[in-house]
């Protein structure tokens, strides 16, 4: 099992996959990550928001890919040698297939252990900076990792039907 919930003396440690978007380090709970794949050809979806890069074929299954950099208004991801797609997975319904989505990022870093106590809530920046995707800031020995609430990213990617259902199908 990749999950480590070491309960020795009640210290909760979670594993996070950390990766880079430009020079900023982000993290996703490892349990939400299905796999990491290289960047393959993407088929554009017409009339979708610009951060939706399109769909890819993941071994017979078609899944959407979003550009996290674009999503966070940091510009378009330039596809380079180290760019890759992190395939994330969330369970929406108990018995349904899990929902999969690819996240295009610049570079994968490592899997780190972060104690729950070392996670601080995201500060309020104000000035239109939306921090709703941020679970918190995780402190490791020498640096700070921005932990993403990937479920939130899923929901607010405006791709999911869950979102549209939740929002009372505001648009047709």
């Amino acid at each position: 099992m990749s999950q480590t919930m070491e309960t020795t003396e009640q210290i909760q440690i979670q594993k996070y996959l950390s990766f880079f978007i430009q020079d900023e380090e982000y993290g996703i709970e490892i349990l939400k990550v299905r796999e990491i794949i290289g960047v393959t050809d993407m088929t554009a979806l017409p009339k979708t928001p610009p951060y939706v890069k399109g769909v890819i074929n993941l071994r017979g299954r078609i899944i959407p890919v979003i550009d996290l950099k674009r999503k966070f208004d940091m510009g378009d991801t330039e596809i380079k040698e180290e760019s890759c797609i992190i395939v994330t997975e969330i369970q929406v319904l108990e018995d349904g297939d899990p929902l999969q989505m690819g996240c295009l990022i610049d570079r994968v870093s490592e899997v780190t252990n972060i104690e729950d106590s070392k996670i601080e809530p995201a500060p309020k920046f104000g000035g239109g900076l939306d921090t709703s995707f941020i679970l918190g800031l995780g402190k490791t020995k020498d640096r700070v990792c921005i932990l993403l609430d990937i479920d939130r990213v899923f929901q607010e990617s405006e791709l999911t039907e869950i979102h549209s259902a939740a929002e009372n199908h505001g648009e047709a």
Binding site: T40, T43, P46, K47, G60, R61, I62, L99, Q100
Partner: protein, 804 residues
Amino acid sequence: MSIRKQYEEVSSFFASNQEEPQESVSAFLATLQETDPAALSHLEGIEEILHVLREWMETGKKPEEGTFQDLEKKMAEILRRLQEEETPAMEEIDSELLGMFLSECRSSLQELEETVLHLDQEGDSENQEEISEARRIIHTFKGECGVIPLPEAQKLCHLAETMIDKAARFPVDPILGLIDWLRRYVDLLVEDSHAPAPDSSELRASFEGILKEGEDAGDSQPSVPGAGEASTPPPGGTIEIEVEEDFLENVPEFISESLGHLADAEAALLEYDQGDKDIEHINLTFRAFHTIKGVAGFLGLTPIVQFAHNTEALLDEVRKGNLECTSTYIDLFLQACDALKRLVGVVEGNQTFSNAELDHWNHLLSQAIEGKLETASGKTAQGAATPLPSAPTKPSGQTSPKKKRIKIDTSIKVSTRRLDRLIDMVGELVIAQSMINQDPQIQSIRTQRFTRNLGQVSKITRDLQEAAMSLRMVTLKATFQKMVRLVRDVAGKAHKQVHLEIHGEDTELDRTVVEEIGDPLVHMIRNAVDHGIETPEERIAAGKDPTGTLTLSAYHQGGSIVIEIQDDGRGLDKEKILAKAQERNCLPPGTKISELRDQQIFNMVFLPGFSTADKVTDISGRGVGMDVVRKNIEALRGKVEINSKKGEGTTFFMRLPLTLAIIDGMVVRIGKERYVIPTLAIIQSFQAKPEHIQSVMEKGETVKVQGQILPLIRLKDLFELREGVEDPFEGLLINVEANNKRACLLVDEILGQQQVVIKSLGKGTKPIQGVTGGAILGDGKVALILDISGILEAASANRPMQGV
């Protein structure tokens, strides 16, 4: 303590006709006082009872005999109602069991219906074999309903069973009524596992009518063949359990089920023994034995019935709390499980069981019921210990050679989701394999061995794909069988005599198609019986057989399936259709009636709101049917056609794809992107010439094709693509049609035609208008499949596509 429990006590106290009121009465009164009067208001007569009881309590004088008896009756009535009300709430429905039951019961209802209809058709109600079959299914149903529990359904099944036994003739209609009722109930349960049972009073009345008749006739027939003559096995020797020829095919199922039940029971007993003193464990064990008893009784496996019955009786005592369940009992039950397993093994022919042992068990169990186990416990240990070691070992040579061994055919249930995943993976394998085959580096290897191996891989892949696809295929049998019932009912209502012939019911189709085909079929059959076939008088006047024939057939034709519905009725009336069409202004302007082909006229019946029936009956004629039929069939990417000759009959042809998962598509390119257009929607493709194109007010553009003026749709603009040809003369025009609308699509080029597997763009993607899904092309990349009707809609609305 619940009201019902107290009520039960009070009423049993009444029944015992005591002089003095007891504690139970006062407790009951106290509870009722606390209870909300509204909750009791529906219990008619409770006021009176309360009044009498109170008076009795206060005065200590027993009411008069007449009042007392009257009261007693009323109490019994209220108790019955309370029980009915409370049962569903009191007994927790096991959702897992219910799920299993629901998934299986449709097919068993189907089977039952088939049998009953066959009995009805044959007119041979003396056909014992089929009657037993029907009885068996109902019995199994009863058992299952009891286990879940669904008391109402269980009761009805029980009544039905009794009715079949008692009635002189097989009661076709009430049983069909029961089937309908059960179906309705099952539908309700699927929605909500706690759904109350539908109203069954009518059904009960019909059952009781038949029961009464049967009783009046005076001769109650012996029940199941075999079960009545409980032949006591001769003492000594080993038990032989003979299975009647008729039931041979049911036995394997029985064996595997029984072993399953016993394993469950064992697990429950062990858990109980290990300290989880939940009475539910005992209940489960009880149900296991009970179910086995029921089925064995039906199959005529007397020793098993006896054994299971005795164990069950003991379990019942324990369950009711009359006996304390010590570990001695648990041991006994566990040993009983083992013994029963071996008895079941005897049926299979690989175990033996001595008569003495069976007697010993029966004795032991009946003693235990009387609570004598304590004294007998030492004996149990010995008694069970002595015969056991010797018995299970197969006595060599003793087994009679004539013994039939029953083969157990194993099958497992797999969820469709897993199946689809498998099919996906296989599809992917095929693509991966063809990519390897086409790889230039691979193709440069020219050794014989390599070519041979590669060929082998392709062959296996193809076989695998075929096998995977066949997993989803089911026969049309169940769907067609439903029509038998439908024809019978509709013909009865419309006072017509109709004979239904079925051909090709074994034709296989993709499961999803089969599921979707039901509704259109119902509409068409209904129409054929109600409007197509004449009344017997009309038929005789026309010189035809008074009984009309409806033929339902299915067959393969060129990669698709054709379902044909043919009647020998009055046929479609061309003049009437035309008149109606003119009346409703359904004809396209400028149509010359004399130029219309028959086919075109017949197709008008598919127009919305079109009905040529003179009067609307409760069966059909409102003119919605055929429109829905065409829509449904087109949704399945099929086509429907009509052929008819006045006075001779009508034939409907439905052409359906074998599977919904694969379509024929034209792969086109626009800029860098590739799209798949379903071939079914394409009329033609052509290179535009200047005389074809005409712009309108510098905004819209039209194309003149085959005398028609069609709008020109630029997919590039519609999808807001950056690349792609602008000039219609550089690209290709594709003339497409959907929903009776036509248009020309401008694309860069056609890359080829191929079959593609349709995949959804994932649950994580909102629907995009104009796109039905994605397909993975030969190079492993995704191409979007276009939804032509969506595109035409978006384009004709003259607005950009609705985006996400």
